[in-house]
Symmetry: C2
């Protein structure tokens, strides 16, 4: 039970109690918090105190409220520190998350628009497209679509091998070690198909990360990741 | 008028025609495209061709569709290349955008939660809060909230002077040149107040950029920017 005192307000105590539980993993990412009236009973505080604490938790990104569904502990899947050509599978592993990769779709397609431009290919050139769903702790995290130029996809191993080793490790083996990349982040609304894979409602706001990867001056991959907004944070060091 | 030929599809021609118009500034950021049936008439193509072109324009981030309102040319306000401690006013200037800054709110508040933590201050310490609205080409772009520790705000010039010179230039003059920062990006829904300032509906998805800035090891600012998702792209170089 919390008690008011001179040096700290009740709602601040409640805020810090919950932050502490999130940090220690007592409240895990994705967990739904009890409703307001239950929190009042648990901590013996008023509704207004609970509301103030919740507002601050939301402002600081520790929880997110979903319309009509309740308040959930925010998963802070922190992206890379900049200047590092991070790999999603390493990021997830370093955060102790169990990961699964499901292949959704693969085959050759015509590169149009930004895809052709990013790979420095003529418009409508044939490229290999691989769509995969990444799950973290058994929950859908991102739909990743990779486009590879013909010179590379003709030499790819089978999909099982590729998925086991990872795309970047495979590129390394083929003699195309990724040396640098540019990433562009923007917000998109999930289309029907993507939303279904992510187990989210159509139109939910997602982070769209487009990456153009080169290997010693040659473009080797253009990829997009679509990640539900409440699962993702991206950190950048600026110097 | 477009005509089908062997080397290029009609919808691809339409896509490239519109991309070209956006790149040359004929179609300016924020402009509403004509409705589908008008595009059919203008370019003498079928509805399905227009639709395919629009889908690809949306996928590539050149336009965004707003529910029930139409299709708009996306403003690609590209953020910084990483590793650079960018200043919003310089970014806007380099893109040739006319900028205005309106002061929304200022005064001392108690730093709680992440604010106190980011500034390395005890919880509930007094800090100075300055809320400003940045407009680009007369349209609201971002609500920026800056929190400054007491040691700094006691020495601040008047608001008019601060706004004229910019916060970072002022910090430099005070002997606190910003030397590095960490930025965290995530998606939030605009609350009622922020939405009103941004002239957007409440709950619209926005990029939330939290920055902790230090000057030679001392924390000098914690700030947040809230920018409508369809106005913002963030670019990062990974090496």
């Amino acid at each position: 039970m919390l008690a008011a005192n001179q040096s700290d307000t009740l709602y601040n105590q409640l805020y810090r109690t919950i932050v502490d539980q999130i940090r220690r993993g007592v409240l895990a990412a994705g967990v739904k918090l009890p409703p307001e009236r239950e929190l009042c009973l648990i901590y013996q505080v008023s509704r207004i105190t609970v509301r103030q604490a919740m507002e601050r938790l939301e402002r600081d990104g520790f929880v997110s409220r979903r319309q009509g569904r309740g308040t959930f502990v925010q998963a802070g899947l922190v992206g890379p520190k900049t200047n590092r050509l991070y790999r999603l599978r390493d990021e997830l592993a370093s955060q102790g998350l169990k990961q699964d990769i499901r292949i959704l779709n693969w085959g050759t397609v015509q590169a149009d628009g930004l895809i052709a431009e990013s790979l420095h290919l003529p418009d409508l050139a044939m490229v290999y497209r691989l769509m995969r769903l990444f799950l973290a702790d058994e929950k859908p995290l991102t739909v990743e679509t990779s486009y590879l130029p013909a010179a590379i996809f003709l030499r790819l191993p089978d999909l099982k091998q590729l998925t086991k080793n990872g795309l970047y490790a495979t590129l390394e083996q083929l003699g195309y070690p990724p040396t640098r990349a540019t990433e562009r982040l923007r917000i998109v609304m999930a289309d029907r198909e993507t939303a279904a894979w992510l187990n989210r409602p159509q139109g939910c706001p997602c982070m769209h990360i487009a990456r153009s990867t080169e290997s010693n001056g040659q473009m080797v991959e253009y990829s997009t990741n679509i990640i539900p907004g409440d699962l993702f944070t991206y950190s950048v060091d600026l110097i």
